[in-house]
Amino acid sequence: MSPETAAPATNGANGASGAPVLSVRNLHTAVATPDGSFDVVHDVSFDINPNEVLCLVGESGCGKTITALSIMRLLPTPPVRITSGEIVFDGNDLTHLAERQVRDVRSERISMIFQDPLTSLDPVFTVGQVMTEVIRTHRDATKAEAREMSVDILRAVGLPAPEERFDSYPHELSGGMRQRVMIATALVLDPEILIADEPTTALDVTVQAQILERLRAEQQDRNMSMLLITHDLAVVASIADRVAVMYAGEIVEEAPVDELFSDPRHPYTQGLLRALPHVSRKRRDLVPIAGLVPPAQMMPPGCRFAPRCPHALEQCWDEHPSYEVNGSVGLRCFNPQPF
């Protein structure tokens, strides 16, 4: 396996082992514009291992959500489509499955929840109508059985009065309740992987903590793997087993969570951590990362972070660094720095 095609071969921090449940290999996803086609996800590779939480971190627009939507085959095509790469799940390449087969995977085996619970639920159907339809699309269940399954999972995710909520419309629920409904709908068929795209960003802080705790508990109870997308390093610290850091459409560093926080190698990861407030570093100013993310149609030919990197070498400007995997750590950098 060449370094280009590898991803860090690690197990979950909680000791689970075995082959990865899902492998993304050299994924390229591009958006077509009148000026040509540009990669918004560029050469992304990672594994999701059984029973672990992998966090995909990065600032807005770095390609996290597009990566997740590529896995679910939910890209808005056109203009966005996968141009090359593989997403291997259960021996199949999801990028080449027929639409019909992809539908069988969705929700039944890989589920996804979204950022904004206010707009992500169908406003003219009740919670129960949608959950029942999802169940009966995948399973032979009577309406009564579907109702029972739904109420059970609604109760499990901590929704108060689940029997009544089953017949509620989304507008009758609070933001936190709606997110619980979305989680319940995503988990009702007991999927192997849950992809959560900024699940707590639209919620207020106290509810955020409850939802994260609930997600973590469900992940462990069900021996499920989770891909959590976030820009919030506090969320990462509280829930992740492993972290992949994305910058400008690429994964620049991947490591087990403790290692990433204690010994980040990539200057971008280091910059992110320096920009965090920290109780132990009293009265130290936060250090912002200078400059802006280059737009997709104006990517530098060398390292994409070079224009903002304090440690950039001549080589960083001319050559594009490849993604090197060393044990449990993956890195895309010519000049890694001690933290």
Binding site: M72, R103, R106, S120, D122, V130, Y169, H171
Partner: protein, 305 residues
């Protein structure tokens, strides 16, 4: 419920005000009911005597209260022109109008909604282009002209359909289509834009992530969301059909309420004109009220409170 009650009171007020407007308007429009009834040779004294008999020399507000009093006891009176019982006219012509109106109303949705869905699902295709061109034409062409054109083409030239008359199915086709045309054109447009708007909503992605089929997502979830504005404006389509029925019934010689009203106004047949104006106004106002109720039923967000 409060919303529906408020709308009902508003509806009653509109009905009352329009009854006054109709009553005055027909008396202000010149001409005289007397000439409708008496032969042209009648003397001045005979005419004056007849006016007195009908109470037409009293102040208009007295006539109004007398008329409304009789109306409320279901004494509709008789036509001044042919002495026909107005209630009989209502049932006979009302039935014809109901057939024509219902056919047109059905066509508006049976044709408009599917074409709109087609245009939305196949956006920017040739199908979308032709549907939208048809829609623009349908809105731009005035229905009296469309009526004449369709008579010329389908009746005179091709001879497929009769040009006028009542009440066979074949005779119904042309007036119903002409009457429905503008409603179809508007419904196509509204359906298309409402479908497209809802297809772009976040909840569609959530449903796709749930593994639902495209048929269910588009045909059930998106359509149901898109129907909210369409249902709420369905009442307005009724109003439109009632208004256009005056023209279309007259052109196609369809003996409905519209034709009766046009003739009554031309002959200054006050009782008939007043009553049938009120009937049409009531239908329009009630259909608007229905639209409001329909909107509440179609949109769960308005159902409570």
């Amino acid at each position: 419920m409060k919303r529906i009650a408020a709308r009902s009171i508003y509806t009653l007020i509109v009905l009352l005000l329009s009854s006054i407007a109709v009553f005055y308007a027909i008396r202000l429009s010149g001409g005289d009911a007397v000439s409708a009834r008496l032969p042209a040779s009648a003397s001045f004294e005979e005419r004056e005597e007849f006016r007195e008999l009908l109470g037409l020399n009293d102040p208009v507000h007295e006539q109004y209260f007398r008329y409304m009093g009789r109306l409320l006891t279901f004494d509709l009176g008789k036509s001044l022109t042919n002495n026909a019982d107005i209630f009989d006219m209502l049932t006979h012509h009302g039935k014809n109008s109901l057939i024509l109106g219902a056919a047109a109303f059905g066509l508006v949705f049976a044709i408009g909604v599917p074409l709109g869905i087609l245009a939305a699902v196949r956006r920017n295709s040739w199908a979308d282009g032709s549907v939208m061109t048809f829609s623009v034409a349908g809105m731009a062409v005035p229905n009296f002209w469309l009526a004449l054109l369709s008579v010329w083409l389908f009746a005179s030239t091709l001879g497929w359909l009769p040009s006028a008359g009542c009440c066979s199915t074949k005779q119904l086709i042309l007036p119903a289509v002409v009457l429905a045309m503008e409603g179809i054109a508007l419904t196509v447009r509204m359906t298309r834009s409402a479908m497209l708007e809802n297809l772009g909503q976040d909840f569609v992605r959530t449903l796709r992530a749930g593994g639902l089929s495209e048929a269910s997502i588009v045909g059930k979830h998106v359509l149901r969301n898109a129907m909210v504005p369409i249902i709420s404006l369905a009442g307005l389509r009724i109003g439109q059909i009632v208004g256009y029925a005056l023209v279309v019934e007259t052109i196609f010689g369809w003996p409905g309420l519209g034709q009766v009203l046009v003739n009554a106004v031309l002959r200054r047949d006050y009782p008939v004109a007043q009553f049938f104006s009120l009937v049409l106004i009531t239908i329009v106002v009630l259909s608007n009220w229905l639209a409001d109720v329909g909107y509440t039923v179609a949109n769960p967000r308005l159902r409570k409170t």
